[in-house]
């Protein structure tokens, strides 16, 4: 909620107090659903505690410059775990997640990666109604993961537009024209397994990013998933706090 404080010097200023009261009322209305957040780009407020960005694990920040912005469409190809990791923090913080067209998604892994399963909706097989189902979910759910659903490119564009309008995040595991961020897992490297001993423990994903806007600057780096913890290392390492040696991809 937006913190509003009234300093004693302004106390006499009735207009300021009325504005403060209106701000409190507006934020309360937003929270209770009486009023929706303004979603037109001109009206969107950009303060830090404004809910225009879904929280992500801090280590994933290099992957998603500007965070998991509401209204964005993100594609993640090559790793279901990365999709689940990306949404874990948001789900734990109270967001709703819907998973459409992924009958094989491992909900135990989702649970271990931090998703609150009581706010996860599964639609394993939407059938030919895919576009309508995703559109309906975009209306009410904070993040919709779209797997293998029969969609035409026109449907994809319409759904992206709808997600933008409804402040929902679309995460696709298949290529999606017009996605604002495209993450591709090029390679996975597992550690912990020997020849007949140990067990799968950590993995390092080599991820490359392309996209538009703040993601247009290409990035390529490694993401280490260890249980529910995540570390990210860009290729080339960090010198004096400045990321160097980024490979320009896009």
């Amino acid at each position: 909620m937006t913190a509003v404080t009234v300093r004693p010097a302004e106390h006499a200023d009735r207009a300021a107090r009325a504005a403060a009261a209106r701000a409190v009322l507006a934020s309360a209305e937003e929270r209770t659903g009486t009023r929706r957040k303004p979603w037109r780009s001109g009206e969107v407020r950009r303060s830090a505690d404004d809910h225009t960005v879904l929280p992500i694990a801090p280590a994933l920040a290099p992957l998603l410059p500007g965070g998991l912005t509401r209204g964005a469409t993100v594609t993640v190809t090559g790793s279901t775990s990365l999709v689940l990791t990306m949404l874990g923090a948001a789900s734990a913080a109270g967001s709703w997640v819907a998973v459409v067209g992924m009958p094989a998604v491992g909900m135990l892994a989702a649970h271990q990666l931090g998703l609150a399963l009581d706010r996860v909706v599964l639609v394993p097989d939407p059938g030919p109604d895919g576009p309508r189902v995703i559109a309906a979910l975009v209306d009410g759910v904070d993040a919709v993961v779209v797997g293998d659903v029969a969609l035409a490119d026109a449907d994809r564009r319409r759904l992206s537009a709808r997600a933008r309008e409804r402040s929902a995040v679309l995460v696709a595991t298949t290529p999606w024209p017009g996605a604002s961020v495209q993450l591709t897992v090029e390679r996975t490297r597992w550690s912990g397994v020997g020849r007949g001993n140990g067990r799968l423990r950590d993995r390092v994903l080599t991820v490359s990013r392309a996209g538009r806007g703040s993601a247009a600057r290409g990035w390529r780096g490694e993401v280490r998933l260890h249980g529910g913890e995540v570390d990210t290392v860009p290729h080339g390492g960090v010198r004096d706090g400045v990321v160097v040696g980024l490979e320009r991809v896009g």
Binding site: G33, G106, Q112, V121, P124, D129, L137, V141, T188, V193
Partner: protein, 550 residues
């Protein structure tokens, strides 16, 4: 335990009650001995003369009088009880059944006295002073109560005393304690009687307390009452103080005159029987409208709706749905949708199960709706200013919309439950369906695959071939020795292969060999040359791809 807990009828009350200032109110207790067993026997139609007992899976929680005569005791292990009494009829515990079956008894008692408090199934408390005056005397009141309950088919005992605890103990002794005589009535009784007074959630604490008191030489309630109150509180804490108040006949707690409302039910005989979904929708609408009217007239809302249908073959189909008060509770349209989806599901499932030669699906001959957990409208409190209530509401609406598009069974929610195999550890239920939770997840489950769990679990395992360094299929013998080191995985298409760089296991999982559905598998985590990791299983000599760690 904390001092803030106040379980009824005897949680530790507030600590600053002055002692001996006023006498507690006259209270009558109506007690049906061994209620869980009697309820279970009524439902299961076990003849009353047979020894019977109710168990919670491990130990007996209640035994009937014939069983007790044969030496069966509460708290015994099932096997020990069967050893003592081989003819013992063992029935599973079901708190819901206890409550449900107790309702007729309470209604019968209510014909004598209005304003009862059902403390727990089997025990009813009522203020005795007014009712006793009205019916002439306390003896007359007790007699009327026993007769009324006997007409409902149960034997009950009534006790009266000052205060709740004393009344419960008096009921067990079938005694009428005269006003003012409570202390002397209680003085000779053992401290073990306290166990019968406490509510089920405080039994463990009271058991401990009683055990301690006996070891310290405080054997009767009289001994306990003779101790100074402050010292008892200092030594034994709030439960000790509560016990002291019961023992000295000072526990005064006004009986809370609240009971849940009875369920509201409507039903409809379908003549001609309903065979198609379209017909069912019309029926659903009519029935939903009727239930809604009844609820509105009663000014009530409900927590759950049970839909039940009877087929022409006599099968009973029952499903319970939770209604969301956040969504405006129960409107005719939403209720109709629910019923329609459910009927749709049943009729379609019958169609699908049916083979070519089978007769057409049995039409439905009767449909009933029952509103459960009925409460007066306004009693349920939504989270008006709570965190994220708005987004929850929107999400629920969206999910219901999708259920309207695809049918209720196509939208699932997942829960983590206990189990060893990857698929066993997740329980998928239709969204909004009130299904009891599955296996406990906090049990140890030895042999469970280690975390991290695979992110892609194939709904149906795919057969693959795992070849060893010798070029032959890898075999694993009973001692978990592999015939050769794994070298290559051949994928289901039979032409592509990937070489193996490492593996962990083999881990055997042998489950339910005693049941009709035994499971035997050996699991192997395999890392491949292209960096991927998969979970393979060997069942009956066939390797299959179970899950991908992608």
């Amino acid at each position: 335990m904390t001092a803030t807990e106040t379980p009824s009828p005897g949680g530790p009350p507030s600590l600053d009650l002055p002692a001996g200032t006023s006498r507690p109110r006259r209270t009558a207790a109506l007690w049906v001995p061994d209620w869980p067993v009697i309820a279970a026997m009524q439902v299961e139609q076990v003849p009353a003369h047979l020894p019977a007992a109710v168990h919670d899976g491990h130990r007996l929680v209640a035994a009937s009088a014939p069983a007790r005569r044969l030496g069966v005791r509460r708290g015994m292990r099932r096997r020990a009880a069967q050893q003592v009494c081989p003819d013992l009829v063992l029935l599973p515990a079901d708190p819901g059944r206890d409550v449900r079956e107790f309702e007729p008894v309470v209604l019968a008692a209510e014909t004598v006295v209005a304003g009862l408090e059902v403390t727990r199934p089997g025990l009813v408390l009522l203020p005795a002073a007014g009712a006793g005056r009205y019916h002439g005397s306390e003896q007359a009141l007790a007699q009327l109560l026993v007769e009324a309950v006997a007409e409902a088919g149960c034997e009950a005992q009534v006790g009266m005393a000052d205060g709740v605890g004393a009344a419960v103990i008096a009921a067990r002794a079938h005694a009428m304690v005269p006003s003012g005589g409570t202390a002397s009535f209680l003085a000779g009784r053992g401290v073990g009687e306290l166990r019968h007074v406490v509510a089920p959630d405080g039994v463990a604490e009271v058991d401990e307390l009683v055990d301690l008191l006996v070891r310290l030489g405080v054997r009767t309630l009289g001994d306990l009452a003779a101790l100074p109150r402050r010292d008892v509180l200092a030594r034994f804490g709030p439960w000790g103080q509560w016990a002291h108040q019961v023992a000295s006949g000072q526990d005064d707690r006004p009986t809370a005159l609240r009971r849940p409302e009875a369920d509201v039910a409507v039903d409809l005989d379908l003549d001609p029987p309903v065979e198609t979904v379209e017909q069912a929708a019309f029926v659903a609408r009519r029935l939903a409208g009727r239930l809604h009217t009844v609820m509105v007239e009663a000014g009530a809302g409900c927590g759950r709706v049970q839909i039940s249908a009877t087929t022409a073959e006599g099968n009973e189909l029952v499903r319970t749905w939770r209604t969301d008060t956040a969504l405006g509770g129960l409107s005719v349209a939403r209720l109709t949708d629910r019923v329609r989806w459910q009927l749709d599901g049943w009729l379609t499932a019958q169609q699908l199960r049916r083979g070519d030669g089978d007769p057409p699906p049995a039409p439905l001959t009767r449909l009933a709706l029952r509103a459960e957990e009925v409460v007066a409208v306004g009693a349920e409190q939504g989270r008006l200013w709570g965190q994220a209530a708005g987004s929850d509401l929107r999400a629920h609406r969206a999910v219901h919309r999708v259920q309207g598009l695809l049918g209720a069974e196509a939208v699932l929610s997942a829960r983590v439950q206990g189990g060893r195999e990857v698929r066993d550890q997740v329980q998928l239920v239709p969204w909004g369906d009130a299904v009891p939770p599955g296996r406990r997840a906090d049990a140890p489950w030895p042999g469970r695959l280690p975390p991290p769990a695979p992110a892609t679990v194939l709904p149906v395992p795919q057969p693959v071939q795992l070849c060893g360094t010798d070029g032959r299929r890898v075999e694993i013998d009973a001692r978990l020795i592999m015939s050769a080191d794994p070298a290559t995985v051949w994928w289901p298409d039979g032409t592509s292969q990937t070489s193996v760089t490492g593996w962990a296991g083999p881990w055997p999982v042998v489950q339910r060999w005693w049941s009709n559905d035994p499971r035997r598998a050996v699991y192997l985590q395999v890392t491949l040359a292209d960096g991927r990791a998969v979970l393979l299983a060997l069942r009956d000599g066939v390797w299959s791809l179970e899950a991908r760690y992608d």
